[in-house]
């Protein structure tokens, strides 16, 4: 895809590109280069000296069982967030799709949590499950269940998953509903006439037809869980207990800014860089993100 008609000159387009290029160079490429460079050193926190360690930071990280565990944590967390938010969204979208009228009303009622920042969502859920004042934890206590996400790894993971999925339901709902509404009703009707029950119809016809949407959402949600849930983790668990909720992005932050271990943080940046690169390629290869060049 190329424009047939173009304007002449190179100075003007250069000037037009400059703001973006400068910002990109100064705030993206230079720091990324610095991350790679710094990953080969152990600097002291105050920036007074740097000690060359070669690949020592990487050795240290990969030898740290907690860093390796953080990959698993990230994978489990992302998967749970994706499944939870997509599952709930699909349930709501299927219901809304059954309505002749009024799906718009429900859409309005369901989309706005998208606008709530993950960090704010974290505070809301923390408040509900706070071990001392939380309403939900109090009623759970009444039922004989002693909720303590400060100590219990599974509960902590559950809480950050639910808090991260909550606002995400809106987003997934919107795309699922659009996907469902794009399925020709005649197809489903034909099956209905054949006597197929709802669940059979859904399983054999609707869900396969929905698979492009599902796959798209799968990738987008995983990317979301990887990078944008930092606020939830930071507000609710700070990565604990026993680093059970320390996802990779949280660790790069806590090593760099809480622990002032800049060498380790830079090395983690480099590792993350590779992961994001891979994710981006997947995103572009398998989802038609229409970029042709």
């Amino acid at each position: 895809m190329e424009k047939r008609v173009t304007f002449k000159g190179w100075l003007l387009p250069m000037c037009l590109l400059m703001p973006q290029i400068i910002i990109t160079a100064v705030f993206f490429f230079y720091p990324a280069g610095q991350a790679i460079y710094q990953s080969l050193f152990i600097p002291d926190p105050f920036g007074l000296s740097m000690r060359w360690v070669g690949l020592g930071n990487f050795e240290y990280l990969l030898g740290d069982p907690y860093y390796r565990a953080s990959f698993v944590t990230t994978a489990v967390f992302s998967l749970l967030v994706t499944v939870t938010s997509m599952g709930f969204a699909l349930y709501l979208a299927v219901l809304a799709d059954r309505l002749i009228k009024g799906s718009g009303v429900y859409r309005t009622l369901l989309i706005w949590p998208y606008a709530v920042a993950p960090a704010v969502a974290g505070v809301l859920w923390l408040f509900m499950f706070n071990t001392r004042v939380g309403v939900v934890s109090w009623y759970l206590g009444l039922l004989g269940y002693d909720w303590n996400h400060v100590l219990n790894e599974a509960e902590a993971m559950g809480l950050v998953v639910v808090a991260s999925s909550w606002g995400r339901v809106s987003y997934n709902f919107l795309f699922f509903l659009a996907g469902l509404q794009a399925i020709p009703k005649s197809v489903i009707e034909a099956a209905a006439i054949d006597g197929a029950r709802f669940w059979t119809r859904f399983r054999t016809i609707v869900f396969p037809l929905l698979s492009p949407t599902t796959f798209f959402l799968l990738v987008v949600n995983i990317v979301y869980a990887f990078f944008e849930t930092f606020g939830v983790i930071h507000t609710i668990t700070s990565g604990g207990p026993q680093q059970a909720t320390t996802i990779l992005v949280y660790k790069v932050f806590s090593d760099g800014f809480v622990s002032q271990d800049l060498g380790s943080s830079a090395a983690q940046s480099v590792i993350l860089l590779v992961i994001v690169g891979a994710l981006t390629i997947v995103q572009f290869k398998f989802i038609e993100r229409r970029v042709h060049y």
């Binding site: 230079y30 152990i42 600097p43 002291d44 926190p45 105050f46 920036g47 007074l48 000296s49 000690r51 360690v53 240290y60 740290d64 907690y66 071990t131 001392r132 303590n148 400060v150 100590l151 219990n152 790894e153 604990g240 207990p241 026993q242 680093q243 800014f257 809480v258 622990s259 002032q260 271990d261 060498g263 380790s264």
Partner: protein
């Protein structure tokens, strides 16, 4: 690298010119909000009103960790304050940053303000003094852990609130009785690593780390997986399992439970006194931190927690003069006595302690003298001077994680502490590498 140097130079030019504009402004970055923040603001106001050459400006920069990080980050950007509040855990980090700080003894000598290192309480200043006796930072708020007792809860459970709780053996019996008497929360704690490992070690005169807990060199290794510590954590783990010790979090979350009257015993900083006094609607008293009868040399002395004020490098002589006057003001007996009485923090000078005593404060507020006695009862040994470990904030995080594993029943005490030592040592080696 070049770009950064250039940018740095550019930034510091701006910083310098703005400093020149308000030459006598002294920035103090601190971590206090709420009641403590108000008291701190009062001190600043009083100093500013007392003279006209300098203006101290306090800025709250978040919690202890955040304040330290803000200070470090600002130093890198060339915008560091003159005075930075650093919690005791950050002491080794600051000490190692020779080019970033200006030792307090130097500031005082050059600034000419009255300064007598001997006036400060040994147990307090020891934490912030080199082995040669030079004071590097000025102790600001220092406290030590004590045991708070909810007397009403003891009575309700059918126990004598005056029973002897000086040893953990006795506390164990009390916990049995409290549990049997229907108490849901017999024991909570704040700052678990500080109280139940760091102070436990000092109190029993056993090492927390080699090389005099790090005072004698960067090549120190953790030793808090020794028999005394393991036995204590094992007992605590058992209590947690039996529902006698309730874990509420890494900081002092448990304070809310205790102040609300929900818990019977609470191990917490002596500085928690003001809060308990203000909120508790029950009869309480304060006891010394318990020790294990027959273990180590207990009772030795406990160590402090809290913060000290570090003077940052890179400012001009006039500003340091102002800093020295302000630090001298903060050390004065009136300021210290008031601070001690209002907060429960220890006075940093012996004179302030005596003044408080003379004013009859201890008689009117029984229990407030416990902390001071606990710290000064015996001359500190190599195991009870304090701790000076690099990356100690992180190490505490590791200890917290491992202790949580014990409370949750996932690990036994020995495994958890061994693992904490191993992980902590890795950080100590990294710190040694970065600061060699």
């Amino acid at each position: 690298m070049k770009i950064r140097t250039l940018l740095g130079a550019f930034a510091s030019t701006i910083a310098l010119s703005s400093n020149a504009y308000a030459a006598t402004e002294i920035q103090w970055w601190h971590a206090f909000t709420g009641r403590l923040g108000e008291l701190l603001a009062e001190q600043i106001e009083e100093f500013n009103a007392s003279q006209s050459d300098f203006v101290v400006v306090g800025s709250h920069k978040g919690n202890y960790s955040e304040t330290l990080n803000a200070g470090i980050a600002a130093f890198r950007a060339g915008e560091q304050p003159q005075i930075l509040m650093v919690f005791e855990v950050g002491t080794a980090t600051m000490m190692a940053a020779k080019g970033a700080i200006k030792p307090v003894y130097e500031v005082m000598a050059e600034g000419g303000a009255p300064f007598d290192p001997d006036a400060y309480m040994g147990a307090v200043k020891g934490y912030y003094t080199t082995t040669d006796g030079d004071m590097l930072s000025l102790p600001y708020n220092s406290s030590t852990p004590v045991l708070y007792v909810n007397r009403d809860a003891f009575t309700a459970a059918g126990l004598d609130p005056d029973m002897d709780l000086s040893t953990w053996q006795n506390v164990g019996e009390a916990l049995d009785g409290l549990k049997a008497g229907g108490e849901d929360c017999p024991l909570v704690t704040a700052w678990q690593s500080w109280v139940h490992l760091e102070n436990l070690s000092a109190w029993h005169d056993v090492p927390f780390a080699s090389k005099e807990n790090g005072f004698a060199g960067l090549d120190t290794e953790l030793m808090m997986n020794g028999p005394v510590q393991v036995a204590h954590i094992e007992a605590m783990g058992q209590w947690a399992k039996d529902g006698k010790f309730i874990y509420t979090g890494r900081r002092n979350e448990g304070g809310a439970n205790f102040r609300a009257g929900e818990c019977a015993l609470f191990t917490e900083s002596s500085a928690g006194y003001a809060g308990v006094k203000a909120e508790a609607k029950f009869d309480f008293d304060i006891r010394t931190l318990p020790y294990w009868e027959g273990a180590g040399n207990a009772p030795q002395n406990t160590i402090i927690g809290g913060s000290s004020l570090w003077v940052m490098a890179g400012h001009d002589a006039e500003e340091y003069k102002g800093v020295s006057q302000f630090l001298s003001f903060l050390s004065s007996s009136d300021v210290q006595a008031k601070w001690h009485q209002n907060t429960g923090y220890l006075p940093i000078t012996t004179e302030a302690a005596e003044q408080t005593k003379a004013e009859g404060f201890y008689d009117a507020n029984p229990g407030t003298e416990i902390a001071g006695m606990q710290m000064t009862g015996k001359a500190p040994t190599g195991n009870s001077k304090g701790l000076r470990l690099g990356s100690f904030d992180q190490i505490r995080g590791i200890i917290d994680e491992e202790l949580e594993a014990v409370w949750a029943g996932d690990k036994d005490a020995k495994t958890a502490l061994d693992s904490a030592k191993e992980r902590g040592d890795a950080l100590l080696r990294r710190f040694e590498q970065a600061n060699r």
